[in-house]
Amino acid sequence: MAVKQFLHSKDLKALALSLPGALFIIFFLFIPLATIVVYSFWRTESYTMIADWNLNNYLTILTTKTYLTFLFRSLSMSLAVSFISLIYSWPVAYYIAKYGGRYRLILTMLTAAPFFTGILLRVTAMQQILGPIGVVNMFLSNIGLKPLHLLMYSHYATGLGLIYLWIPFMVLAIYLSLLTFDFKLLDAAMINGASPLRAFWEVTLPLNWIGTCIGLALVFIPTFAATITPKFLGGVNGALYGNILAHQFGSTGTWALGSAMGVLMFTISSLFVFIVFKTVNLNRSGYTGKIAGE
């Protein structure tokens, strides 16, 4: 029987298994992200980066009215889309978690499944519904009504498309949080005199606030960076911040300016996540940090 030293420190084993992926993420995601921070202080001249440290890219963005308009438009769009998704997802996720019973899993998978069919094809599908030759407006004109201009290449169409793309994340985040929520706590609240609505405010929402915040972040971030949806649903004047960012990496080749825009996008997204998670009070969230078997 081989008698050898068997036990090493738990830290060592945990690190041996988790470090490879962590290094992969650091090297292939964080370092590239860091390079665009560097490039945002350089300048581009005829498709080459020149290491000439300056703040001009940021000054350009912050002083050009068009850029600021796009930024503001994107920010309002993302806030609106996140907020609407939040309001809509809560009752839906709540229903699935509480009354879904043995159909819980399939009901949830059904909300998540469309996400996997790819953004582009889903936007294509949405385009067939909205827009001047979309089935909604075709239907209206077929029965002799005026088409809905609201849905024709407008910000509303973009917003609807973005909700369509990202609401599964919100439902999923809230549902997963509710899975670990003990609904009997509501009985306790109501026996002690809370109305159903009051019980929701006092018990359900606080105990599922982390999940809700995760949902908000997961909807806000891709919405703020949206390029495809506004391009195909927003029409001529529908461009958002992501579109002009992407534009810098296309034909214009103004990479340094684009990098600065990217850094600004990342900063604003992070700020949003930071502010949202500032509202989390771990002591009141029901979070124990414990995992099964401990």
């Binding site: 809509y88 899993l105 399939i106 499944a113 094809l121 369509y164 159903p196 960076a225 990217g262 099964a292």
Partner: protein, 272 residues
């Protein structure tokens, strides 16, 4: 009392209505383009003139075969490392309690908080200007892997938090070596989570546009082909493509669901 019951059931009905509306909202567009893909008169397809011409056109598209092959490679070679990295990490972090756990979990899910557009442009800049390699399949695979590690990590984590690691200790006490513990006890209980993570990573990488687009240059994938042709107005062959992809995705999900429902998927619950 009656009024409270009334209120509760009204609330419940309201929730059902919202749920059904959500499903209609999510599925009507998908079903409609599926229907559209089989008709000639795509704009107002009533009554339908059935046809398979869009599928023939799809097959005839110049880049279709190359795109399909490239997408498949990106999907496969992203899913393999993403699943391996994340499986190892979840096991390491859950099985061995360590003070690094919180930070590591945060690091692993952090790619979810970086939008695809930023992953795309930053890896483009990094690969082109630092690594001196742009427009290669491998760059797209690496960039997709970073994002999909996060997704598969979450999928596996969500399942494995319920796994009782003392089961492994029990096996060891009864004479199983670490390798035997893994093959006899751990893997047979967690493989559905690993399969799920693999499928999720594969599908996401296969369908990815934003990350792949910036990393691939002229190399076609199905989403970049779709993107290219969409820019020149509606192409009905895309409906055919969407239908094919939707079918594949939904059959994968249905298969996974079947596995779970038939009880082939049982995790190491405690005391059950």
């Amino acid at each position: 009392m009656a009024s409270i019951n009334h209120q509760a059931s009204a609330l419940k009905t309201g929730q059902v209505v919202l749920l059904v509306l959500l499903y209609i909202f999510l599925y009507f567009p998908l079903l409609f383009i599926t229907y559209d893909s089989f008709v000639h008169n795509i704009i107002w397809p009533f009554p339908p003139e059935w046809t398979l011409e869009w599928y023939q056109k799809l097959l005839g598209m110049s880049d279709f075969h190359a795109g399909l092959k490239n997408s498949f490679y990106i999907g496969l070679f992203t899913a393999i490392p993403a699943t391996l990295f994340s499986t190892a990490a979840v096991i390491g972090l859950l099985k061995y309690r360590t003070r690094w756990r919180g930070g590591m979990i945060l690091l692993y899910i952090s790619p979810l908080f970086v939008p695809g557009l930023l992953i795309g442009i930053s890896t483009l800049m990094f690969n082109a200007n630092v690594m001196g390699m742009s427009g290669k399949l491998i760059s797209a695979i690496i960039a997709n892997t970073t994002e999909d590690i996060a997704f598969s990590f979450l999928v596996i984590l969500a399942q494995l938090v319920r796994y009782d690691w003392r089961m492994d200790e029990a096996a060891m006490v009864f004479g199983a070596t670490p390798a035997q513990v893994f093959w006899e006890v751990t893997l047979p209980t967690i493989w559905p989570a690993i399969l799920g993570a693999f499928l999720v990573s594969f599908i996401l990488a296969f369908n990815n546009l934003e990350i792949s687009y910036y990393n691939l240059g002229a190399i076609p994938t199905l989403p970049t082909i779709a993107w290219g042709s969409l820019r020149h107005g509606i192409k009905p062959e895309l409906f055919a493509l969407a239908t094919v992809i939707n079918m594949l995705v939904f059959s994968a999900i249905a298969g996974l669901f079947f596995l779970i429902q038939t009880g082939m998927v049982r995790f190491g619950y405690r005391g059950e």
